[in-house]
Amino acid sequence: MKSVAKIFKEHTMQIVLVLVVIFFVITTNGSIWTPANFNALIAQNAYVYVLATGMMMCMLIKGNIDLSVGAVVCFVDAIGAQLMVNKGVSFPVAMLAMLAVGLLIGAFLGYLIAYVNVPPWIATLAGFLAFRGWGTAVLNGNTIGIGNAEYAGFTNLFNGFIPDVFGVEGFNATSIVIGIIACIILFITQLRDRSTKISKGYEADSMVSVLVRCSVVSAVIIIFTYMLAKNKGIPFVLVWVTVIVLIYNFITSKTTLGRYFYVTGGNMEATRLSGIDTRKVLFFAYLNMQFLTVIASWITMARLTAANPTAGTNYELDAISGCIVGGVSAYGGSGKVFGMIVGATLIGVINLGMSIMGIDANWQKIVKGLVLLAAVVFEILNNKDKNKA
């Protein structure tokens, strides 16, 4: 059995997240704990999860970051809105055009970084400046709204909800059914994983700890889907985020491609001399980042029902913060998708909680800065302990 101290150490961020939620429930007299706020937490942070996933892939390689993503969101949205509103292009075509532009940007930045050896933060800083300007220029400095019914096909892709098939008044039962199915799948896969490990004679967690872990995660899923059911159901944007997270979790933990990211971050020269094309890995990281940026820009445009010159401001910093708080190493080589999810959620909860408490926006920034710093200091101290032992 693992000691309590060890469990605490391995799940610090999760425990901090729970404590922070409890803190806000108390300080807001429970007004944070409403169906609408659960929905808001997802709607407000969907882009963070998507961007932080891509940012994590960049950071795995020597802590590289991409500063351009916020500006690219603005630029790609500007192009999409112009096409849809002023050129009368249908929304699927406009989305494809946005995707093509994003991939071009990614290929260009990736080429500069991987093959011309431009330091990543400089190449993407140039992108940060240029695409914000270019995006504003495409919009002529104005906001282009897509709130009309004729664009609903696009906005619904992200802002809509999974419809209810049971027809209970004021309660989206489909949502809770999906939640229950997810929990059952979780239990089955975890228990099966454990039994195959045991049958092959590998080290496996005890039955109790597997059951406890599954129960805790299931409880979170049930609470979430229950609260969302009391709202309007599961928003489509949550489906997008879940699919992306599951895909990237699979890539990073189970595939050779994911392995290349970790080993390139751990020792680029050793990886190169093992016959792996490290430049290609670096190129792919930035191409992939812009791919996810395009998805984030769809989400953003749908949520704002507009493209405007300030869209995406500070998105790159939100993504980086989410990664860092979620335990992705600022030096590269380590980090997990689910860790990043917890980190981004923690920041999201702090934002939401402080807003509900009515804390001044400037103070909110101070708090967020301190949280980021604390997370990094914690990581460093934690690693130091590990090395000593």
Binding site: K200, Y202, K254, T255, T256, L257, R259, Y262, V263, G266, N267, E269, A270, T271, R272, L273, S274, G275, I276, D277, G333, S334, K388, A389
Partner: protein, 513 residues
Amino acid sequence: MAKVLLEMKNITKTFPGVKALDNVNLQVEEGEIHALVGENGAGKSTLMNVLSGIYPYGTYEGDIIYNGEICQFNKIKDSEEKGIVIIHQELALIPYLTIGENMFLGNERGKSAASIDWNETYGEADKYLKMVGLEESSRTLVKELGTGKQQLVEIAKALAKHAKLLILDEPTSSLNEQDSKALLDLIIRFKSEGMTSIIISHKLNEVSYVADKITVIRDGSTIETLDKATTEISEDRIIKGMVGREITDRFPKRHDVKIGDINLEVDNWTVYHPLYPERKVVDDVSLKVRKGEVVGIYGLMGAGRTELAMSIFGKSYGTGISGTLKLNGQVTELKTIKEAIKHKIAYVTEDRKGNGLVLTNPIKINTTLANLEEVSSKGIIDQDKEYQVAVEYKDKLRTKTPSVEQNVGNLSGGNQQKVLLAKWMFANPDILILDEPTRGIDVGAKYEIYCIINDLVAEGKSVIMISSELPEVLGMSDRIYVMNGGKFVGELEAEGATQETIMSYIVKTGRGE
């Protein structure tokens, strides 16, 4: 009897879970050269860190008596004030500063920290450079110097701190034989001028050449102190103390290995420097290797050995590579590392930490890195299979580790080298190029590496072993190429070859720069 300058009494130092030093005693007399030997992890460096104050007073038990008084050092500055100066294995010079700036770093000359007196700095620096026999101006940038000269700058820097007791941790580990000899002679000269030195070294021939007394440390305890004045010190005698048993043969015998057909043949191979394309690094080299054969390439550092090996290994080094490469008689061009691996060539680097291993990752990930396809299908890694492979190679090479989930960075040098070998053996090559396969690892681990080499050739594989240790080249090779200044200057059968014949090839051709 001379005065005892330093006495370390019953030093015990514990880290969480490990007793690194256990009642260690060390006595150094004024004006002697005292060698500290022991296998990797025996505690030599820990002991010197206690002495120099890196582990401050109070974190260890026991007493340090220096010059008759008990010392309580809290930081390096404290010990340096008393004249105890340590020169670490990894050189600590800043490449883009001048020699003079480096020499007085943290010890600047001038009225105050805000006004450095550059004339005094460079004047003083030149004075100390002369003492160590360096002709360079102290205004030269450190990056312009070779490692041998950088090591001399480190010593000059120590002299500038008015060192009375000089501690050298593996001073010759990255030097070639000539530079090493010069360095050791310099220490002997200092001795005649009254300097006391402690030298930590793996190279036993150097230790027996330079030391007056030798203290052997094993598993955190002092085993014995050998005095040259009273006992005959041979390398075998020292090894016996280090490993606690007599090693009758430092090189295991190969039995009944059949040497077959030519496996790899390289002709007229020329390589230019990647950054200075006019500089020839490898010059018209031709070599061949047969199945089941160990071919040694002996050369000093900078002879172009690594560059030759890496240029053969999928052109991973150099530009303007010309010449032909034949595998099993077929002319083949290996344009990338991936192609080289596919054609069953492996290059095991000399720099296992820098170029070989991902230290922050576990053994199992390192083991499969060069052949990840073997444990995956359609891009998805079979983690069961990966684990089994890692365990298989761990057992086969007798890597000492609690589990293959252990990060490679936590292993000792010898075990890291085994993981590196495992990685390349798993890539299933026919030709292995081993670049300094036993650098910086202890005697016992060296023997095991030699056994692995023998097993490889017994399976019909070919091994090219690059080494700058003559006994190793002679003890392990079937055939030896001698390399100097980018050229092969000699080829000889190992049988009947001696250290003198090999060196004579190098002396004949001079040191090509």
